[in-house]
């Protein structure tokens, strides 16, 4: 085996550098294919990354429930009864959903007038428990804060603004510490949302809304009926149990069938995330196949040039056979040559792709929704490994078939003609 390799290596190094132009073009074709596959996969990976981040923007491991009507007869009660929990039910649920790390209620006013100075806009106001800040990823920009347990208990008139809404109302001014009016009632602005990527939403982007303590909301708007209940499972694995406990607790209190999906239907972000992940895998595979096909075209180019070389060298192959070359010593250098072109092209392509990716990442994306998702191509170890494996495979194939033709040369036939 060692001797075989030595012979192959010696012959390979002695092989003439064939027409450079053709070799260059071939290497360029492989490089282009590599750029294509790496860029496509990197954009796919970046998109996946941003989507996952965007999904986390709303909060992790949370489920959002809306009030509904029963659709099943239960213990002598008819179908079609509304299930409308109130503020006080949150305490009841917290004691029973042990698999959840938090349960909160939300009250919503879809169009309240929000004014500061001479500016008045119509906007969304949500009343929520103070845990909402953590659970729904409402993190304040420097200098501000989300409201806390004391604010909620004492029904303080404090308001936390979405970053877009803050801009619409206050322009360039710093809202924190200012007093603004919500339906003509004064509120102290205590924080503005730190800009975040958010994909999922159940009442519009958090950036366009404002949040006040649920107790304050209830006092001002005079309502107890919850628009949403949100709970957060301790871990992603706890979500099914948390949902079951939620259904049972609510069903016991409002007397409906816990399997009545008309009432218990909710948005489970854990499950949704799994579906998203699968879609992304499909998308990555699709991009990979397109890139792979481009690379394959380059591989065919290598095979083509290798066939030409074999044809040109038929006589030399015959001579080598006549003086005692084994089959493997004839084919080895050709396979090696095909591999060399492919890997050389691959290395060039990878270099170009990395430079391109770095350039694209330099483009500022803040504030541009489309670019926030597409403008962050990301290289990963998996992409590098997959590309290298594909290059190696194509290289071997591109060298192998021409080499097989070389090995089938009949020395007697070759050396006969003049």
């Amino acid at each position: 085996m060692g001797r075989d390799l030595a012979v192959i290596a010696t012959l390979f190094l002695k092989a003439s550098s064939l027409q450079r132009k053709r070799a260059m073009l071939t290497v360029a074709a492989i490089a282009w294919g590599t750029v294509a596959i790496v860029m496509l996969l990197a954009f796919g990976e970046g998109l996946r990354h941003q989507l996952m981040k965007g999904q986390r923007g709303m909060g992790e491991n949370i489920a959002v429930w809306w009030p509904g009507e029963t659709s099943k007869v239960w213990e002598g009660l008819p179908e079609g009864r509304p299930v409308r929990p109130i503020l006080d039910d949150i305490g009841y649920l917290r004691g029973r959903i042990t698999a959840a790390s938090g349960v909160i209620g939300e009250l919503t006013s879809w169009s309240s007038s929000l004014s500061w100075g001479t500016t008045t806009i119509t906007g969304r106001v949500t009343g929520a428990n103070w845990e909402y800040g953590e659970m729904r990823h409402h993190f304040a920009q420097a200098g501000g804060r989300f409201f806390n347990a004391n604010d909620e208990r004492e029904k303080r008139r404090v308001i936390f603004l979405g970053d877009e809404l803050a801009k619409d109302t206050f322009g360039e001014a710093d809202p924190v510490g200012e007093t603004m009016f919500v339906d003509r009632i004064p509120y102290l602005v205590i924080g503005v949302l730190e800009h975040k990527m958010q994909m999922g939403t159940y009442k519009g982007p958090d950036a366009n809304g404002s949040v006040i303590p649920i107790t304050t909301f209830s006092a001002q708007f005079g309502t107890q009926r919850l628009n949403n209940i949100v709970f957060k499972a301790r871990t992603a694995e706890d979500m099914p149990l948390a949902r079951q406990q939620f259904n049972e607790a609510l069903a016991a209190k409002y007397r409906f069938d816990p399997t009545d999906e008309q009432v218990t239907g909710l948005w489970d972000t854990v499950e949704f995330g799994k579906v998203m992940a699968k879609i992304m895998i499909g998308l990555q595979a699709f991009l990979g196949i397109i890139g792979g096909l481009t690379l394959l075209v380059g591989g065919i180019g290598v095979a083509n040039i290798m066939y030409a070389v074999v044809k040109e060298k038929t006589r030399e192959i015959g001579v080598q056979m006549a003086v005692g070359a084994h089959r493997g010593w004839i084919t080895g250098p050709f396979v090696l040559q095909g591999m060399t072109y492919t890997l050389l092209g691959g290395a060039f392509g990878l270099l170009i792709a990395v430079i391109l990716i770095m350039l694209v990442r330099l483009v500022p994306v803040e504030g541009n929704q489309a670019l926030e998702f597409l403008g962050k191509p990301t290289l990963s170890v998996e992409i590098a490994v997959a590309t290298a494996a594909l290059l190696g495979f194509i290289g071997i194939i591109a060298g192998y078939f021409p080499a097989r033709r070389a090995a089938s040369v009949d020395p007697a036939e070759t050396l006969r003609y003049e």
Partner: protein, 244 residues
């Protein structure tokens, strides 16, 4: 990779001293519909140290015979022993080894590898024969000096004259110290001067006790041989030894 590391016999190890022993050799080329019978039963025995010229008109089967002797091809029928070793049933790599160890080829059109230097061309059979790098180099230089090309070792074929190229080819043929040197019209592409140089070189090799089989149309070359075998229509028609 392993192949039978037979002790090199150089003909001496055979029971009867025959280098070539062909009995009833036939060769049929099957070109689709037509079967061409190139050899119809060749009987040929060549002993160590003989210089045999194979002559005959075009299409008589000379080249086919040479290919069979050189193990570039295998016979359709009959038995062939080279240096006491039966060729029948050997696979391609084993045949390549037989060629490497036992046969040195000299072609009409030299068939040197254009991208290799004279030295590297002579080294090639030794590379395939498993000779170490230093030893290869030493022996290649020695063989080139013997064909009076000691000052051309680093030249490529394009930088050599026809006669010089053929002398490199002869050095290459001798590189593995083969049992037999096979030459196919070695002077066919050479001018008279270079041709007679090559002829002298071949005679010299014969004088050193080597076995040569030369296919030729060249009467001058044939006359130098110790034995002339004439082939016609795939059969040996005359086989005469020169009287010294």
């Amino acid at each position: 990779m392993n192949w039978p590391l037979k002790k090199k016999t150089n003909g001496d190890g055979t029971s009867n001293g025959h280098i070539i022993e062909m009995l009833g050799i036939t060769k049929v080329y099957n070109t689709g519909k037509i079967k061409v019978e190139a050899l119809k039963g060749i009987e040929l025995v060549v002993d160590k140290g003989e210089f045999v010229a194979v002559v005959g008109p075009s299409g008589s089967g000379k080249s086919t015979l040479l290919n069979l002797i050189g193990c570039l091809d295998t016979p359709t029928g009959g038995s062939y022993m080279i240096g006491g070793e039966a060729v029948a049933g050997l696979d391609r790599d084993a045949l390549a080894d037989v060629r490497n160890r036992r046969v040195g080829f000299v072609f009409q059109n030299f068939n040197l590898l254009p991208q290799l230097t004279a030295l590297e061309n002579v080294e090639l059979p030794m590379l395939f024969g498993g000779v170490g790098r230093r030893e290869r180099r030493r022996r290649a230089v020695e063989h080139l000096e013997r064909v009076r090309l000691g000052d051309r070792v680093e030249h490529r074929p394009t930088e050599l004259s026809g006669g010089q190229m053929q002398r490199v080819a002869i050095a290459r043929a001798l590189a593995m110290e083969p049992d037999i040197v096979l030459a196919d019209e070695p002077t066919g592409n050479l001018d008279t001067g270079s041709g007679s140089d090559v002829m002298s070189l071949l005679s010299e090799l014969w004088g050193q006790g080597r076995t040569l089989v030369v296919v030729t149309h060249d009467q001058t070359l044939a006359k130098r041989a110790g034995r002339i075998v004439e082939i016609r229509d795939g059969l040996v028609v005359t086989d005469r030894r020169a009287v010294a």
